[in-house]
């Protein structure tokens, strides 16, 4: 039976191939042979076609067995089995997994069937940060947090570290924005008996055009939107044309939120920034307040890119804590637990120190 997955093995020695961060080629870590990405693509194209057919055959079998199984139809839809081409183990992944590694032999594996019926990514930002970079960055991230429980860092062990290519929609837009602001100029006159403030009120109209380039919005339901927005920004100078070869050795998900569904998030951000630009042009006033605004999109272009993210999971008091690192820039984001005793003691100590100082200030002001 043909394999339903394709292992990227070295044509020279048969060892698994990996795309190493910071390199422009796929390297065999065992024999050191380097391959051009285009050569690897050509080499494995035929294998991928066969794997697609095999996967289709397996899926039809799955459907028959499913009729009498205890899985609900939704669960069965989300779970998919495939065989590892290296060790033959049967692996299960969810419906969006495009690339993974075998949990038994660690072989990097593609699931080409998942590329069907969906858009091919236009770009990919290759991983620049290694696993060790991610671990070091997480340790650095712990520093400087006063309320971090002492035993969190002492007994801390990263449970899982996964490098993943996350699907992102990149929105380009040219917009026309117009807004009205109420602005005030304050003129203060000091007389011996009173302070006179003259407030001149103006209506300020602004209209302008501007362009935004590649606003990233993740296309994965699995990834928390706030986390994905927090690992921004990305350096698009590293953006390269997509090739599946970059996936070797990494997990990769396909999008399950369409560009159309994601566009509202990009629109909201564009609108806020456009208004900010217009407001900043209302100069030489003492107070400026937005009255009304309208933003019209004239040109909207969307591209599809795969973005590198390190996902690190740790556990504290039986609760998982997930951190994410931008695989390109190394920016770590996450929420740390806090020690409730410290959260009470430190502010209480500050209050106690401040109390006599405040007392003397207040006493001096009253008398």
């Amino acid at each position: 039976m043909a394999d339903s997955s394709v292992s990227y093995k070295c044509p020279n020695c048969g060892a698994p191939l990996s795309f190493l961060p910071g390199k422009k080629t796929v390297t065999c870590e065992y024999c050191g042979t380097e391959f051009e990405i285009s050569a690897i693509e050509e080499l494995f194209r035929a294998k991928q076609e066969i794997a697609v057919q095999a996967a289709e055959a397996q899926e039809s079998k799955w459907a028959i067995e499913d009729a009498g199984s205890e899985w609900s139809s939704d669960e069965a839809k989300a779970l998919h089995a495939f065989t590892c081409s290296s060790c033959g183990a049967e692996l299960v992944c969810d419906e969006n997994t495009m690339a993974t590694e075998c949990v038994y032999c660690g072989n990097p594996t593609m699931i080409p069937k998942r590329f069907d019926g969906m858009l091919k990514p236009d770009y990919v930002i290759p991983f620049k940060k290694t696993k060790q970079d991610a671990v070091n960055a997480l340790k650095e991230f712990y520093k400087g947090h006063m309320l971090l429980p002492s035993n969190f860092t002492a007994n801390n062990r990263v449970e899982a570290i996964q490098p993943m290519y996350v699907p992102f929609w990149l929105f380009d837009s040219k917009i026309t924005a117009q807004a009205e602001f109420r602005a005030e100029k304050h003129h203060i006159i000091n007389t011996p008996k009173e302070v006179i403030t003259e407030i001149s009120v103006y209506n300020c109209r602004r209209k302008g055009k501007m362009s935004f380039e590649r606003i990233p919005v993740d296309g994965s339901k699995k990834m928390d939107d706030a986390y994905m927005e927090s690992i921004e920004p990305f350096d698009y100078s590293d953006l390269v044309e997509f090739s599946a070869a970059y996936f070797t050795g990494y997990l990769a998900d396909k999008y399950d939120v369409t560009a159309e569904a994601s566009s509202a998030r990009a629109d909201r951000r564009v609108e806020n920034s456009a208004i900010e630009v217009l407001q900043n042009s209302v100069e030489n006033f003492d107070a400026v307040q937005l009255e009304s605004a309208a933003v019209k999109k004239e040109v909207g272009k969307v591209s599809y890119a795969m973005v590198p993210v390190w996902i690190l999971t740790t556990r504290y008091n039986d609760r998982p804590y997930t951190f994410m690192m931008n695989g390109q820039t190394g920016k770590v984001v996450g929420s740390l637990p806090y020690d409730k005793t410290k959260a009470f003691l430190y502010p209480a100590l500050c209050s106690l120190v401040l109390m006599p100082i405040l007392y003397f200030i207040i006493s001096a002001l009253i008398y």
Binding site: I196, T197, A226, L336
Partner: protein
Amino acid sequence: MLKKFLSLIALILLISFFSIASAAQSVTDKAGALKDTEIELLNQKIHDIEREHKIKIGVAFVKSTGGRDMVQASEDILYQNFANGKNGGIVLLVDMNNRKYEMATDTRMVEQITDMDGIPFLKDKFTSDLSAGDYYGAANNFANGVDELMTYYETNGVAYGQRKPGEIDPMAAGLAVIIAIFLGVMIRSILIGLMSNVHHATAASDYLKKNSVKIFDNHDTFLFMTVKRRPKSSGRSSSGGGHRGGGGGGSF
């Protein structure tokens, strides 16, 4: 003709007003508010208080100050005739026509009878008598009030209403506790907030092409003007000598 007549009246009033100063009696009545016996009794009483506390006290009833400011007029009387007390001086001036009164204290007295607590204490002592037309009672109670305040100062070492050295002010302490607790809660919120750097992005400024911004409509239209007036804290005006005494007054 009328102008000349009014000027003459003003001159007479002014002369009669300053004649109070030359009299140098503790109590002077140019408005006919007191009987001679009452003036005598008051002078005796005030003399005793002055001697006991080594201060100077003046009480003056006038028909009018001749258009002069009450604060100015009361300070003039004080600094011309009653400012030579060892422990300070105080004057009560009553304008019968305008039904106004004013107290003035010199630089030494203001430390013992403060504007914040001492002057209101004295007002409470005699204003009801003034309103009721009992001018002797008013002057008598004013003198008693000064006596009480001076006794308080001599007994406690601080002016009436003031804290003794080392004594904690409950109002300031209460405020300090409330503000410190509030700041503590704020610090706690900030420290807990710092434990996470996960936030939704609200803007796309990082992705704005800076040279793409072209603002082609730029109109500022003046709509209207509003004027806000805030009176400056009215420090008590003092006479030309640059005195820094105190006092206070009102109507009856």
